[in-house]
Amino acid sequence: MAETVIDVRDVSTTLGGHAIHRGVSLSVARGEVVALIGGSGTGKSVLLREIIGLQKPQAGRIELFGQSVWDATPEQMNRLRRRFGVLFQDGALFSSLTVEDNVATPLFEHTRLPRPTCRQLARLKLAMVGLPEAAAKKRPSELSGGMRKRVALARALALDPELLFLDEPTSGLDPISARAFDRLIRLLADSLGLTVFLVTHDLDTLFSIIDRVIVLSDGRVLGAGTIDQLKHIDDPWLTEYFAARASREESAHGS
């Protein structure tokens, strides 16, 4: 059994008098690529924000690499932050910095490397996520949506984290760019030995690159496992969710 990287125990969250999570428990082992799915408003993104320490749950325990996120001292938390990278939904790139400096920022802040070296490492990361060299000196506003996502991924990878969090990595991308981005994530996860935890709505992502799926429903974890295992769970939302894919494939074959 591989080491547990993310461990969430009995997390409960209430937002605005609304119970979002009622005892959510899940765990992710090293090297896994895991997706968190669930209908709109089931608190997927909230759970992600709680795991990375941006939002405090009312009850429960969250551990990353065996370190409790909400009991950590600021120094412990900073050390922890160096070990994971986050790709936010809209990229959240700093619009006033060049692409290269965006990726180099974590290196500027968290290492003692000279600035030119940080920029060189940033360009290495940009090459690894498949961006052309010419993009390095541009500003985020000059790039397409797909390229911005890649820059954000490069920034998340800047400090060579062991764990990568992705919030809706393929949202807002056209199907071709989305599939290319999926393949890139899997390639990097395999070659860098990353553990990946992603929140997604994209069925194609699920079917192409995911080892294990965790379903969030009604404030609890409805089930976890491979897609084939999940198909046997009797739940109206889940059945409809997978039916959407089946009908799409049928119509694709029919035409």
Partner: protein
């Protein structure tokens, strides 16, 4: 956690590395300048990430076209990671730092930017005039509600700061003037001097400066943020003109609000002067007002009030144009807002000088 350690074996040309190699391992690298590394022994590596691998690669191979050293004792995972980094290394080649910009180049760029602003303002005035002509033909398209909201923000919102500042300036001016006048026993002439200075120069210029800083900056920041969030594009696609919807109501509101504010500033400044005149110079309020009625010419008041709409047009045009030329990033909004205030202040001072010369020549 094992600390990174490196040792260069000169005889065999082998670099032996041990421990965790990540971004912090740079300090552990020995000085390899002028030495040729034939092989790297990585049997003792406990961890290797892309940052660490690249630092190692960069140290053993200063030129990208030099041959790669042989790898010894690397576990397959580290070997694969090394290959991945080596494949993308071309992109990370050192780049010359950007050339330093000299004073002459800076001055030249500044001059070009000023020229650009001047041409841009002219172009903007032209487009605005065309827009106004269309609006005159179709009065239904006037945005009265927006105009009213702007007038409230620009005029009512500015009353406390304008009256407060001008009152204090009146106090200071009367005090300094009174100090001189007392020596010659010319106390009552302080009223003459105060009226001329406040009404003709101080109130119009200071009020315009305050409004440029307060309203001009706000207009640029607001329109600029709307540009960033694509609201301006949304206005366009609805078949509306951003000039008609945003610029003309603001310009009109400023043109109307500024003379009103100058008038309030006049009153506040005179009140400030009256207070000092009573305390320092023994000129009662009654005497002060009597003297005012005797010496104040209507044209003194009108000169001051007449300058205000001209200042207002320039503040509005500069602020709106800078807002509309914001590019889609956060820094641009800040830079353009700063530029609005600077341009407005320069315009106000220059226009005021122009007016002064003009009025002297015309003997007003």
């Amino acid at each position: 956690m094992a600390h990174a350690h490196a040792h260069f074996d000169e005889a065999g040309g082998v670099l032996i590395v041990r421990g965790d190699w990540d971004a912090d391992a740079a300090a552990a690298l020995p000085d390899l300048a002028g030495k040729r590394v034939r092989a790297i022994d990585g049997a003792g590596l406990t961890r290797l990430d892309t940052n660490g691998a690249w630092l190692l690669l960069n140290a053993v191979r200063p030129q990208p076209d030099a041959p790669l050293p042989e790898l010894r004792g690397f576990v397959p995972r580290h070997r694969a990671l090394w290959a991945l980094v080596a494949r993308h290394d071309v992109a990370a080649a050192a780049q010359p730092s950007p050339p330093r910009i000299g004073v002459r180049a800076l001055a030249g760029r500044g001059a070009l930017a000023m020229w650009g602003h001047l041409v841009g303002l002219l172009d903007f005035v032209g487009r605005l005039t065309l827009e106004l002509l269309t609006l005159l033909a179709r009065p239904r398209l006037w945005r009265w509600r927006e105009f009213g909201a702007q007038l409230r923000d620009i005029f009512v919102g500015a009353i406390p700061i304008i009256t407060g500042m001008l009152f204090l300036l009146g106090v200071v001016f009367a005090y300094l003037l009174g100090d001189q006048a007392k020596r010659y026993g010319a106390n009552i002439f302080v009223v003459d001097g105060l009226l001329a200075a406040i009404l003709r120069e101080i109130s119009p210029v200071i009020v315009a400066v305050l409004v440029a800083g307060r309203t001009g900056a706000a207009i640029t920041a607001q329109i600029g943020t709307m540009k960033v969030t694509e609201e301006i594009d949304a206005i366009r696609t609805l078949g509306l003109s951003p000039l008609a919807v945003l610029v003309i109501p603001r310009t009109l509101a400023l043109v109307i609000a500024l003379p009103l504010l100058v008038f309030l500033g006049d009153i506040a400044g005179i009140l400030g002067g009256m207070v000092v005149a009573k305390g320092q110079l023994d000129i009662s309020f009654h005497m002060f007002l009597d003297r005012t009625a005797d010496v104040l010419l209507l044209k003194t008041l009108l000169v001051g009030l007449g300058k205000a709409p001209v200042f207002a047009v320039f503040i509005a045009l500069i602020a709106c144009r800078m807002g509309l030329t914001v590019t889609r990033d956060a820094r641009s909004v800040g830079a353009h807002t700063t530029s609005t205030v600077v341009q407005s202040l320069v315009a106000i001072i220059l226009l005021n000088a122009l007016f002064a010369v003009m009025f002297v020549r015309l003997e007003i």
